[in-house]
Amino acid sequence: MGTDLTSVTDSARALYDLGRYGEALEKYRMVYASQAENDVLCYNMGNCYARMGELGEAKVFFERALIYAPNNIDAQHNLDWINLRLTDALVAPKEELVEWIGQWERSIMSPEGWTFLAWVFLTATMALLVLRRTKNRSLNWRWPFTTTALALLLLGMSYLSIPKIKTGVVVERNSYGYSEPSSNSKRLILLSEGSAGTILGTNNSWVYVELGDGRLAWFDVDEWESLLPAPD
């Protein structure tokens, strides 16, 4: 399987080098279904979109790469490059503290890493408890208690490090915001490609978005893409 993935991405890279960005993107897309949380894959797909001039989609994928790997310098650079060309895009509301902590944790380790670390302490706890019960009754209970507390703390950090970003980005040239989830309602705002906002809810083919300046509006779901891909 690993070999298959590598061959696909190799051919995608070759197509990219030939300037056939659309075909390269298709190749990456084949892999993306099973590798949605791979920051390098997101980065490479963002590159394809950027080369094709679809800056909104490119922004989404560079942002995704940074969600899973906040230290990915190349993704940060390319996102800056995109933002420079989307100067009229509206920025999303500020992230919540919990999401900021999660991002900091991901910059250290992936959520799986935090979980595995918690497992280590849980295993140590169990070993100490078994030892205390069977071999050494005089073993101080503070040791298993400490390892248990550390394990629980790490599990909490693991949970926090799981991305829960609700941000969405406009991927079409323009997106009208309406007062109601209907195109017959009052138009409130026109956003350009790359504008971002916090998705508060959905209603059929409409998303309810809070913008960076506090305004709220309904947008056509086809014109927006969530930074976190929807779970299968």
Binding site: G2, L5, L41, N83, R133
Partner: protein, 558 residues
């Protein structure tokens, strides 16, 4: 002097008797008790009291054509003074029937007076046909002229009230205007002009005395509402004066007219989604003060609806705010004039936009629909998108303290001319493994192990353990040749016996024989005695080994 004083005194007494010497009364009378519809007649309220104000009743079913006419009379007959005050109204009946006019009231010296109630019969054909009355009735008439016979909802109509005067008429006034429902009615300002015309072989004066603009809000039919106009008509009395000139008098007369039927049509179905109620011949205009700004300049955008139409109800579309600008609350301006041609003018919103970032921003397009009464179709006006360019590098510095600082700062950073190349893929097949069940399992296991710590231990194991533990302690003490090794051994023996329910103070042969065999009991007693002795007397090394062996053997039995 004395004589003058006497006369004044007499006058004072006379006046007093005139004012208070008789009972005050209030009476109501009318010129006719049976009247025709729209036939003016006079109601008079009179009192002999010299003080107090007469309060007329609510006429309800009658309309006051003219009045009040006040009169005051004082008479002195044979030194007796009498006084009479009256107040009179010319009124007309609005409908047929028998009506009782409520009493008038007045207060005199704390006493409230009430007049008598008048019963008035109103009949359609009760008008007297005297020559003077007939002449008066035919002296003028009124008509309502409408500008259109059929209009759409929201399309204005002009009503013109026209009087045709065959005789001199003065004090022409509207006593009842047509009362419409679901319409906006506005009186138009205009200069009254009269002209002479031949009407039915008679020369008459035609006077347009009032104009009103009607704006219907709902479909239906306008018509049937009545206009009543009163006037004082100059009619000959049939007598002549000293110079043989005919004498005339002014007779109150009421003329009525009904509005001709005007059909109010509903707007056609299938209104466009941008239709917000505008009806008429309208235009939507967007005026942008500038499309390129720099420095701290601002942009003014005006959205204006102008033309002829229902400005009272139509809405001006709001600006869809472009990004990159702070848009302040709009200023509202209007200039609306009503005339015979309809309501003309404009309504506008004036927006002030202050740029926040440098760049090019799209000013969204605007679509607005209205119903054109000339073409009788809905029409949509589209104002195309425009681009607003903000050239101001200093704006990035202005943003230092704003929430958007991060985004702007990232843009300002030095960035290469191009994006960076692809990264090396490090793809591994991701299984569908979910760590949650495993983590949950581990947590459960750890929890169970914690519970296990508090579970009671089994008896056998405990027995084995304490015997082994005590034996180890004794063996360790003897191996290290501790000074208190025999004390340790004695403690172990005591511990073992206590476990069997025997305390050291109770250790006697009889007691031990109840629990152990006699040889074992003897060996235990010997061992205890030896331990006690050894604590105070030195013991040879060979005895240590012997005693330990003895203890181990006895301990097995315990």
């Amino acid at each position: 002097m004395k004589k003058i004083g006497k006369q004044l005194l007499i006058c004072a007494v006379l006046l007093h008797s005139a004012a208070f010497g008789q009972n005050a009364s209030l009476t109501a009378s009318c010129s006719k008790t049976t009247v025709g519809l729209n036939e003016p007649f006079r109601i008079t309220f009179a009192t002999n009291a010299r003080k107090g104000t007469i309060t007329p009743p609510n006429f309800e079913k009658f309309i006051v054509v003219s009045g009040p006419y006040k009169s005051n009379q004082t008479q002195i007959i044979n030194g007796k003074m009498s006084s009479q005050r009256s107040i009179a109204y010319e009124i007309v009946a609005q409908e047929e029937g028998v009506f009782t006019l409520p009493a008038a009231r007045m207060k005199v010296s704390g006493q409230e007076l009430e007049s008598n109630r008048l019963k008035i019969t109103v009949k359609a054909g009760a008008k007297r046909n005297s020559r003077a009355d007939r002449n008066a009735r035919e002296s003028f008439n009124v008509r309502i002229l409408t500008s259109k016979k059929s209009v759409y909802v929201g399309e204005p109509i002009v009503l013109k009230f026209r009087a045709t005067l065959f005789d001199p008429v003065r004090d022409l006034s509207i006593i009842q205007a047509p009362n419409f429902e679901n319409v906006l009615q506005q009186q138009l300002e205009f200069k009254q002009e009269s002209k002479r015309e031949v009407v039915g072989n008679k020369i008459a004066t035609v006077l347009d005395f009032d104009k009103r603009l009607i704006l219907p809000n709902k479909p239906g039919t306008l018509g049937g509402q009545e206009l009543k106009v009163s006037g004082q008509v100059q009619v000959p009395t049939g007598r002549r004066d000293f110079f043989n000139m005919p004498l005339t008098k002014f007779v109150p007369q009421v003329a009525t007219a009904k509005i001709p039927a005007v059909k109010i049509k509903p707007l056609p179905e299938g209104a466009p989604k941008h239709f917000k109620g505008g009806v008429g011949e309208l235009k939507l205009v967007r005026v942008i003060s500038r499309t390129e700004v720099s420095g701290s300049e601002s942009i003014t955008i005006k959205l204006r609806v102008e033309g002829t139409g229902n400005f009272n109800t139509l809405e001006v579309p709001e600006l869809i705010q472009p990004e990159g600008f702070d848009v302040y609350d709009p200023k509202y301006n209007e200039n609306i004039r009503s005339s015979e041609l309809g309501i003309r003018g404009y309504k506008e919103y004036e927006y002030l936009l202050v740029p926040q970032y440098p760049g090019s921003f799209i000013l969204p397009d605007i679509q607005w629909s209205y119903f054109n009464t000339r073409t009788e179709r809905y029409e949509t006006i589209t104002i195309a998108t425009d681009t607003l360019n903000v050239e101001n590098p200093a704006l990035s510095g202005v943003q230092e303290t704003s929430d958007l600082e991060e985004a702007v700062k990232r843009e300002v950073k030095t960035i290469d001319d191009d994006i960076r190349y692809l990264q090396d893929d490090n793809l591994e097949a991701q299984g569908t493994s979910n760590l949650f069940p495993w983590t949950f399992g581990l947590l459960m296991l750890a929890g169970l192990l914690w519970l296990w710590q508090f579970a009671p231990e089994r008896g056998k194991n405990r027995k084995v353990n304490w015997k082994k533990e005590q034996l180890k302690i004794v063996q360790k003490a003897f191996a290290a040749e501790e000074e208190q090794r025999y004390g340790t051994m004695l403690n172990a023996l005591e511990y073992g016996l206590v476990k069997k329910g025997i305390h050291l103070e109770q250790v006697r042969r009889e007691v031990l024989e109840n629990v152990y065999d006699r040889p074992i009991a003897n060996r235990i007693l010997d061992l205890i005695e030896n331990c006690n002795m050894a604590q105070y007397a030195p013991v040879a090394a060979s005895d240590n080994a012997h005693q330990l062996t003895e203890f181990e053997e006895v301990w097995e039995q315990i």
